[in-house]
C-alpha cells in the first residue's frame, strides 16, 4: 500500500510552489509568534520611526486590492458588463489583499488583543478611525461579493448544495454591493493618504493632495495587479482561462490612467517646496537626492510609470503577452514603492521643536523578524490566490460568459413567444 502511495506521489510544480510558500509561511509564523511573545522591541522600529515595513505592506495590499472596487464599479454601475469576469478576479484579489492588510496590522499594533476597540470607542475626528471602520465594513462587503465565488467550489457545492445556491444567489445583489463598495473604498483609499496628509507636525506629508495620490495610485495599481495575476495564472495552469481581448482593453485603460498618475505624482513631488515650509525641502531632497533617490527616480518614476505607460499604450508591446505582463507587474511594484517612500520620507526627517535648531535625519531598516513576518504575509496572499485559481476558478473568463449568455436568452424569450 505504501508503495502504491509512493508511486502516486509525483512532485508537480504546484506542489513545489505550495511547498515554497509553506516554508516562508512557517518562517513567518515562527517570527510572528516571537513578535507576540517578545513584543515590538525585537523590530527595528523606534520612537522616531514607529511605522515601517509592516505599515508599508498594509498600505500596499490595500492599494493593490483596489481593483475590486474600481472594476466592480465599472461593471455594475457604469455598465461595462463584458468586463465582469475580470471584476470577479478583482473581487477575490481584493478579499486576499484586505485580509493581508489585517494580518499586518495585527502584527503592527502594540496591543493586538484590543484591535476591536476602534469599533467601540469612536473618535470621529481620527482619520485612522475612519479608515479602520471603512476597512472593516468593506471587508464585509467583499465577503458578500465573493460568496458566489466560494459557492463554485466543487466540494462545497456537493456537500452543501442549498447553502451554495443561496450564496450564488448573492450575485443578484452585485450592483448594490458595488455601490456600497465604491463608497467605502473611495472613503478609505483616500483617507489612507489623508491620514498622512493631516499630520502638521511633519511638513513633508502635510498637504491636501496626499489623498488624491493615494486614491489614484490605488486604482492604477489595483487594476494592474488583477490583470497581472490573471495573465500569470493563465500561463501557468489550465485551470485559469483568460479572454485576452478583455485583458488587453483594460491594460490599455491602465496605460491611460498611468498618464494621470504620473502627472499628479510628478507635480506633487516637484511642487513640494513651493511653500518653503521648513522640512519640505529636506523631505524632497531625501527623495530626489538622498537614500530614497533610487526608489523615486528609478523604481517609481521610470519603471513604475514611464516604462509601463509606453508598454501599455504602444499597441505592439501591449499585444505581446510578455511585455504586457512586465508592464503590469512594474505598475504594481511602483505603487508599493510609492507607499514605502511616502511613509518613510516623512519619518526620516526629524523636525526640531526648539527654535533655531536644524533639521536632523534618522534612519530605519527593517529587522529580520519584520522581513520574515512581512514575507509570510505576502506568501499567504500568493497561496490564497493560487488556491483560489485552482479550486474556485477565480480566473476563468469562460465561466461567467456562459452565465451571461444564459441571461441573454432568457431576456429575449418573451419577445419571440
Amino acid at each position: 500500500m505504501l508503495k502504491n502511495l509512493r508511486s502516486k506521489l509525483i512532485i508537480t510544480p504546484w506542489m513545489i510552489w505550495l511547498g515554497f510558500l509553506g516554508i516562508i509561511l512557517l518562517g513567518g509564523l515562527f517570527a510572528g509568534i516571537l513578535v507576540f511573545w517578545k513584543g515590538l522591541g525585537i523590530t527595528n522600529l523606534t520612537d522616531l520611526v514607529p511605522w515601517g515595513l509592516w505599515i508599508t505592506i498594509d498600505l500596499s495590499s490595500i492599494a493593490l486590492a483596489a481593483g475590486a472596487f474600481s472594476l466592480c464599479a465599472g461593471v455594475y454601475l457604469f455598465g461595462l458588463k463584458r468586463y465582469q469576469p475580470i471584476a470577479r478576479t478583482a473581487t477575490f484579489v481584493g478579499l486576499v489583499g484586505y485580509t493581508m492588510a489585517m494580518l499586518s496590522l495585527v502584527l503592527d499594533i502594540g496591543r493586538p488583543d484590543r484591535f476591536w476597540h476602534a469599533m467601540v470607542h469612536w473618535n470621529t475626528h481620527s482619520l485612522m478611525w475612519e479608515v479602520t471602520m471603512c476597512v472593516i465594513l468593506y471587508l464585509t462587503v467583499l465577503v458578500f461579493e465573493s460568496m458566489p465565488i466560494f459557492a463554485s467550489f466543487e466540494w462545497f457545492r456537493k456537500r452543501f448544495p442549498r447553502l451554495a445556491s443561496k450564496m450564488e444567489h448573492l450575485h443578484h445583489y452585485a450592483p448594490i454591493l458595488a455601490i456600497i463598495g465604491l463608497g467605502l473604498s473611495s472613503l478609505h483609499q483616500s483617507s489612507l493618504g489623508a491620514m498622512y496628509g493631516v499630520i502638521k507636525a511633519r511638513p513633508f506629508w502635510f498637504k491636501p493632495e496626499m489623498s488624491v495620490l493615494f486614491m489614484l495610485s490605488a486604482i492604477v495599481g489595483g487594476i494592474a495587479v488583477t490583470l497581472f495575476a490573471s495573465m500569470l495564472s493563465a500561463r501557468l495552469t489550465n485551470k485559469a482561462k483568460v479572454n485576452d481581448a478583455l485583458v488587453e482593453r483594460v491594460a490599455q485603460f491602465v496605460g491611460y490612467l498611468l498618464i494621470g498618475y504620473f502627472y499628479f505624482r510628478a507635480w506633487d513631488a516637484l511642487a513640494t517646496t513651493y511653500t518653503y515650509d521648513p522640512g519640505r525641502t529636506e523631505g524632497l531632497q531625501l527623495m530626489t537626492k538622498g537614500p530614497l533617490a533610487f526608489n523615486f527616480w528609478f523604481v517609481e518614476m521610470l519603471l513604475g510609470m514611464i516604462v509601463p505607460m509606453i508598454l501599455l499604450l504602444y499597441r505592439p508591446t501591449r499585444l505581446n503577452h510578455f511585455w504586457r505582463m512586465t508592464a503590469l507587474f512594474l505598475v504594481a511594484a511602483g505603487v508599493a514603492t510609492f507607499r514605502w517612500d511616502t511613509n518613510i520620507s516623512g519619518l526620516l526627517v526629524v523636525m526640531p521643536y526648539i527654535p533655531g535648531q536644524t533639521i536632523a535625519y534618522t534612519n530605519y531598516e527593517p529587522s529580520l523578524i519584520e522581513f520574515l513576518t512581512g514575507g509570510a504575509i505576502i506568501a499567504y496572499g500568493l497561496a490564497a490566490f493560487s488556491l483560489g485559481v485552482r479550486y474556485l476558478r477565480v480566473v476563468d473568463h469562460t465561466l461567467i460568459e456562459k452565465e451571461l449568455e444564459r441571461v441573454k436568452v432568457e431576456a429575449t424569450e418573451p419577445v419571440t413567444a
Partner: protein, 256 residues
C-alpha cells in the same frame, strides 16, 4: 389624523423628539469632541524659565521615579539649546498638554483625551498601540513601551516613590503633569503650584526654581504672574497646537 395631515400636537411632539435627538447627539459628540479641549475650573500650565535652568536633569529623574517609567523612557527631556553669553541654555521638554493636541485628534480609539483642566491624558487600558499619536506629536513627547518594564526602577527610592501604575508593553506613554499629585492635592485642600504635595514632581525637585506651575484661570497664580511680567514663547507655535508649557527665554535681562 390622516396620514398626510399632521396636527399641531404631533408636530410639536415630533419637534420635541427631533430637538431631543439633536441635543442628545450634540451632547454625545461634545463629550467625545476631540478638536477642542473643554474648559473647566482650573487650567493648569507650566512656565519654564530658561535663564535659571542649569541642565542638572533632576526633573527627569524625579519624573522617572514618581511616574515609575522605564529608564529608557523620559517623559521629560532636558535638551541643550546653544549659548547665551558664556552660559549654556537648556530646554526642558515635558508634554506640552496642547489646547488642540494632534495626538488627541488622531487617536482612533479616544485613548488620548482632554481633561477639563487642560491635561492631555492617556487611557492606557484603551490604547491599541497603533502609534499614530507618536507620528502626529510635534514635540516627540511620546515614548512607546517597546518592551515590558519589569525590573526595579533605578531612580527609586533616591528620586521619589512611584505614584502610578506601570504601563503595559505595547502602548505609548507621556507626561501627565503628575495628575495624580494634582488630584490628590486638591482633594486634601492643597493648592497645586504652591503646595509641594499637589505640584508636579519636576517642579518640586527643581533646585533653582526654573519651573513654575499653576492655574491660568487664577490671575494671582505664579504662572499667570510670570507670563504677565515676562516675555515668553511656546514651542512650534506656528502649528497652532496651543501648548500649555511656556518658556521664559534666557536672553539677558534688561539692565536697569
Amino acid at each position: 389624523m390622516t396620514e398626510k395631515n399632521i396636527n399641531r400636537r404631533d408636530f410639536l411632539k415630533l419637534t420635541a423628539v427631533g430637538v431631543a435627538v439633536a441635543a442628545g447627539t450634540r451632547a454625545v459628540t461634545h463629550t467625545k469632541a476631540s478638536s477642542n479641549a473643554p474648559k473647566g475650573k482650573h487650567q493648569w500650565a507650566m512656565v519654564i524659565d530658561q535663564s535659571k535652568c542649569t541642565g542638572c536633569n533632576y526633573c527627569t529623574l524625579a519624573c522617572q521615579a514618581h511616574n515609575d517609567t522605564n529608564p529608557e523612557i523620559q517623559w521629560n527631556k532636558v535638551l541643550e539649546d546653544g549659548m547665551v553669553g558664556d552660559k549654556k541654555v537648556y530646554v526642558p521638554r515635558p508634554c506640552m498638554h496642547c489646547e488642540k493636541a494632534p495626538c488627541v485628534e488622531v487617536c482612533p480609539v479616544q485613548a488620548s483625551y482632554y481633561r477639563d483642566d487642560g491635561i492631555v491624558m492617556m487611557d492606557y487600558d484603551r490604547c491599541i498601540g497603533c502609534r499614530y499619536c507618536q507620528v502626529a506629536c510635534p514635540y516627540e513627547a511620546r515614548s512607546f513601551n517597546w518592551r515590558a518594564f519589569t525590573e526595579p526602577n533605578p531612580a527609586v527610592p533616591e528620586w521619589g516613590d512611584p505614584e502610578v501604575e506601570r504601563r503595559p508593553r505595547g502602548v505609548p506613554e507621556k507626561c501627565s503633569f503628575c495628575y495624580q499629585r494634582i488630584d490628590r492635592g486638591l482633594s486634601l485642600g492643597l493648592k497645586p503650584g504652591v503646595d509641594a504635595d499637589a505640584t508636579p514632581a519636576c517642579v518640586v525637585v527643581c533646585p533653582v526654581g526654573a519651573r513654575i506651575f499653576g492655574d491660568l484661570n487664577d490671575p494671582e497664580s505664579n504662572v499667570s504672574k510670570a507670563l504677565h511680567e515676562n516675555p515668553s514663547y511656546r514651542l512650534r507655535e506656528n502649528l497652532g497646537t496651543g501648548p500649555r508649557v511656556h518658556y521664559l527665554p534666557a536672553v539677558p535681562k534688561k539692565e536697569a
